[in-house]
């Protein structure tokens, strides 16, 4: 067990360090949320005036959505790195060593979670700069971050599962493109759920992205319904556990194919 924890930390350190060595990645992942906040914030500013939207300021509404969306998208691509490691023989080298097998996936998920926390905090601060307010305070920000990171961990595990099964970058790109954007629009990231068409609302009810946005947004209100926040957090946790299990199964399939 301690062996597994230690190996996971070593792997986390490796992934984190490699990420920091890609300045282009850092630049884009910092700029993209800003662009989203400014662009969508300006584009949809007036929709809060639609009767039934239920929020006073669109930037207040949008910021938690961008936090969740950013975690979703970085997690969605995390399988790419695994494909590269398999192609280069890095995974096989680790499998020949006594390294804990679960650390090979767990290290990626822990790194993703750390990056998710950092990204969330940065976007929350950026939101402040462009005029968002967080009546829920620190507790609300923490709830939002936890939900976004749980979602990211689950989606990251799925992405790794797809990566290890397809082992092709092209497939990975196609699947991610096919899933990520629709999942975002089938949630209340940009639009209040009350204003969505009925069929979209029904889908959103089962969409983990929506659970995260809903709970995060609720936490940031002045009087949060903590029951709602905790229930969505529970669902997200269950989602993450199922995805992590799927990723382990997928990894076994790979091991048997060697």
């Amino acid at each position: 067990m301690t062996h597994m924890v230690a190996d996971t930390l070593f792997m986390t350190q490796r992934h984190f360090r490699n990420l920091l060595r890609q300045p282009a990645w850092i630049f884009i992942s910092l700029v993209q949320p800003v662009v989203w906040l400014l662009l969508y914030g300006a584009l949809f500013r007036k929709i809060v005036e639609i009767p039934g939207f239920g929020a006073g300021s669109y930037i207040d509404f949008l910021t938690p959505g961008i936090v969740v969306m950013t975690c979703l998208f970085s997690a969605g691509w995390s399988g790419m790195d695994l494909i590269e490691d398999i192609d280069r023989g890095v995974i096989d080298r680790f499998l020949v060593s006594p390294a804990s097998r679960s650390s090979l996936i767990a290290g990626r998920l822990v790194q993703g979670a750390l990056v998710g926390v950092i990204q969330s905090v940065i976007i929350v601060v950026l939101g402040l700069v462009v005029g968002a307010t967080y009546p829920g305070g620190i507790a609300g920000i923490a709830a939002l971050t936890i939900c976004a990171v749980l979602l990211g961990t689950g989606v990251g595990a799925l992405s790794n599962a797809i990566g290890v099964l397809s082992r092709r970058v092209e497939t990975m790109v196609a699947v991610s493109n096919f899933i990520l954007l629709p999942l975002t629009f089938l949630s209340s990231v940009f639009m209040a759920k009350a204003l969505m068409p009925g069929w979209m609302q029904s889908i959103a009810r089962y969409n983990p992205v929506d659970w995260a946005v809903q709970a995060g947004r609720e936490g940031l209100t002045s009087g949060p319904d903590w029951g709602l926040v905790m229930s969505r957090m529970g669902w997200l946790l269950a989602f993450t556990v199922v995805c992590a299990w799927l990723a382990t199964r997928a990894f076994r399939v790979y091991q048997r194919s060697i």
Partner: protein, 323 residues
């Protein structure tokens, strides 16, 4: 279990009914270099994957460093170092970071870890490149770092899968020197796969020749070549002689056969070329036939491969590439 590596009747079939190994048995004594020689696709890498616990055989048994690869994979992993055909280095990490992570995975920590990494970097001439990311390394440097990574935890048995494929001639000779030194100085058992005949010939004490998932011949390089019965002797005559005269001259030379004369070239085979040459020269001299030059050559592994696999090595290699 006295052998450092022993395999018995290994069978492995991949999806799509590709029989990669079809009953492979082999044994390597401790402290020796054992070579698996064969063309691409003959099953060498599959054998290495099974012996290094990466892959499970469908049937058969194997022991490495005294442990059962199927029932005690954790013990085997601690005892072996493996350098796969695909490098497996982290390109975005530095040479030193690659070594440190590898050591940590084997439970090495602190000063001992750092000292070992430094020692290996020095030994493979990578000190200056230690803090550069591997992406900036040449092919030869990467291959050296691969071997250093495999040696990090001081394994008893080292597996090298095609250690020199893709290297330029200079880097290849460098790597050969390194492999010879490892086996000599450190008492390491090395199992090496190669599809270069001359590499197997010069480095391996024993060889198993693979063809289509089977070991078709096994022994020391000299034994394998020796089974071809004899050395080839080629004599160049100063002037054309009558075939009859030459044959008559050589009739009484013991252990000489397959004598063929064509214009000024005389070819024959002898059990021992070194012993036959002076006798042949004396016999020709006695008949007044003058000799310009003599060469003796041992049969090459190419001849061995042709004999056991029933086709030329290069032909088998080409065929595998087309598949």
């Amino acid at each position: 279990m006295d052998n450092a590596i022993e395999a018995r009747s290994l069978v492995k079939t991949y999806r799509g009914d590709v029989r990669a190994l079809d009953g492979v048995s082999l044994a390597a004594a401790p402290g020796t270099v054992f070579g698996l020689l064969g063309p691409n696709g003959a099953g060498k890498s599959t054998a290495v994957k099974i012996l290094t616990t990466l892959s499970r055989p469908d049937a058969g048994e194997a022991w490495v460093a005294g442990y059962d690869v199927i029932r005690q994979p954790a013990k085997v992993r601690l005892a072996i170092g493996a350098v796969a055909q695909k490098s497996g280095l982290d390109l975005q990490a530095t040479g030193s970071e690659n070594l440190l992570l590898q050591g940590r995975l084997y439970g090495m920590r602190g000063g001992a870890l750092r000292a070992r990494a430094r020692e290996l970097l020095g030994r493979f001439g990578l000190d200056d490149a230690a803090d550069r990311t591997v992406r900036t390394y040449s092919g030869g440097m990467q291959r050296k770092l691969d071997v250093a990574v495999g040696l990090m935890h001081r394994p008893e048995v080292l597996f090298l899968d095609e250690p020199t494929t893709g290297l330029d001639p200079e880097a290849r000779v460098d790597m050969w020197r390194e492999i010879a030194r490892l086996a000599g100085d450190e008492g390491l058992t090395i199992l090496m796969t190669t599809h270069y005949l001359e590499e197997a010939d010069s480095l391996a004490q024993r060889l198993a020749i693979f063809d289509r998932g089977k070991v078709v011949a096994e022994g020391t390089p000299d034994e394998l070549k020796g089974e071809l019965r004899g050395d080839a002797i080629a004599v160049e005559l100063e002037e054309q002689a009558l075939g009859g005269d030459v044959r008559q001259a050589l009739e009484r030379v013991p252990d000489l056969y397959d004598v063929a004369v064509e214009a000024r070239a005389l070819r024959a085979r002898a059990d021992s070329g070194a012993r036959a040459v002076p006798v042949v020269l004396a016999a020709l001299e006695a008949q007044g036939i003058k000799v310009a030059s003599v060469t003796v050559s041992r049969p090459s592994l190419d001849d061995v491969y042709l004999r056991y696999a029933g086709r030329a090595f290069s032909e088998a290699d080409e065929e595998a590439k087309k598949r």
